[in-house]
């Protein structure tokens, strides 16, 4: 997966993701954008496939956006897994719970940092104000790193499936380099959701295992957009 947070020259935050999944062919046909309604209002929006009740991509309007990327695998024995399930959430389920319950960006970051989860994960969270953007690198019990948008130069964050502070394997690094190059060529003055979608559509950021691309901005929730990707 690739998740991207980027801030334009006016301080608007944009958030995009490619959800990559091997054997995802069938999933393309059952991918949906879901509007979760409470008291007649849209409480939050997400993208998933029918049958999966959790969310790895979602938006709480005028509050925050969030995506999840898989982080390194763990080796766990069956008995340990059973214990985990009694006290720890599956990440996709907890992301949905956060979309439902968090009051704002900071609350979402706090919840996604502290809740015990059954696997390691990257939680990528975007807010509605300038510089509200963070990649939380999680192990099952704790955050291990917060990578923040910041005025000292990091106006975009490209998170793939390895820790940002280490050199990734070539196959994953190949997605990060062209994305960074494209952002630097465009500059913050030319960033919008369409540009973000364009960058997420560059090869090899977009690959034959990409199931869908979503771009969103919590400050402009009506612009939430997903496209199912169908490589020829």
């Amino acid at each position: 997966c690739t998740s991207i947070l980027v801030q334009d020259a006016n301080g608007h935050i944009y958030h995009g993701r490619n959800l990559d999944f091997v054997s995802g062919t069938g999933l393309r046909n059952i991918t949906v954008d879901v509007q979760f309604i409470k008291n007649g209002q849209i409480a939050y929006t997400g993208t998933t496939f029918i049958g999966y009740v959790g969310l790895w991509t979602g938006q709480s309007p005028y509050k925050f956006t969030v995506t999840g990327n898989q982080r390194q695998k763990d080796q766990w024995q069956k008995n340990a897994t059973e214990t985990l399930f009694k006290t720890h959430y599956p990440p996709g389920w907890f992301i949905r719970k956060t979309l439902e319950e968090a009051k704002d960006y900071k609350d979402a970051v706090r919840r996604l940092s502290n809740q015990p989860l059954i696997t390691n994960v990257y939680c990528i969270v975007g807010g509605i104000n300038a510089w509200e953007g963070v990649v939380i690198s999680r192990n099952r019990t704790d955050p291990v790193d917060f990578w923040l948008l910041n005025p000292k130069g990091e106006w975009f964050l490209v998170q793939i499936n390895c820790d940002h502070w280490v050199k990734c394997p070539r196959t994953t690094e190949f997605r990060k380099i062209p994305a960074s190059k494209a952002f630097n060529e465009a500059g913050p003055e030319n960033i919008n959701l369409y540009k973000l979608y364009e960058i997420l559509s560059l090869c090899p950021i977009l690959s034959d295992i990409t199931v869908y691309t979503t771009v969103m901005s919590a400050a402009n929730p009506d612009e939430y957009m997903t496209r199912v990707r169908t490589p020829s």
Binding site: F21, V22, S23, G26, L27, R28, N29, I30, T31, V32, D33, V34, Q35, F36, I37, K38, N39, A43, T47, I50, G51, Y52, V53, G54, W56, Q70, R71, K73, D74, W76, K78, T81, E82, F85, K86, T87, H88, Y89, P90, P91, G92, W93, R96, E100, I118, T119, N120, V121, S201, C203, L206, Y212, T213, T226, R227, V228, R229, T230, P231, S232
Partner: protein
């Protein structure tokens, strides 16, 4: 080298309804046989066998766990699609099981 991208259906889940009922209108947007076949195919190809065995033993212990509100939604989906509850849980662990 892409064919035209597809706009996914936009569905609504009403959180004011009982968890077992929430997803039913969304399911009706799809051909049930096709949907069932896709989900079974996902289980067959993406879920490790040991996790399948674990889940069969574990489902009896879900009541009252952290997962309960979501579990009720999954029960509703399984009933509507005539899938076993174990299969429903496996589908809902598709990403997580690949990381364990």
């Amino acid at each position: 080298t892409e064919s035209p991208d597809m706009i996914p259906p936009r569905v609504t889940v009403n959180l004011d309804e009982a968890p077992e009922e929430r997803w039913l209108p969304s399911l009706q947007r799809f051909d049930q046989d096709t949907l069932r076949a896709i989900l079974r195919n996902v289980i067959q190809h993406r879920i490790p066998e040991w996790f399948n065995v674990f889940m069969k033993e574990f489902v009896d212990h879900l009541q009252g766990s952290l997962l309960e509100p979501f579990v009720r939604e999954i029960r509703g989906i399984c009933n509507a699609l005539n899938l076993s509850f174990v299969d429903g849980m496996l589908i809902n662990m598709i990403y997580e099981s690949s990381m364990l």
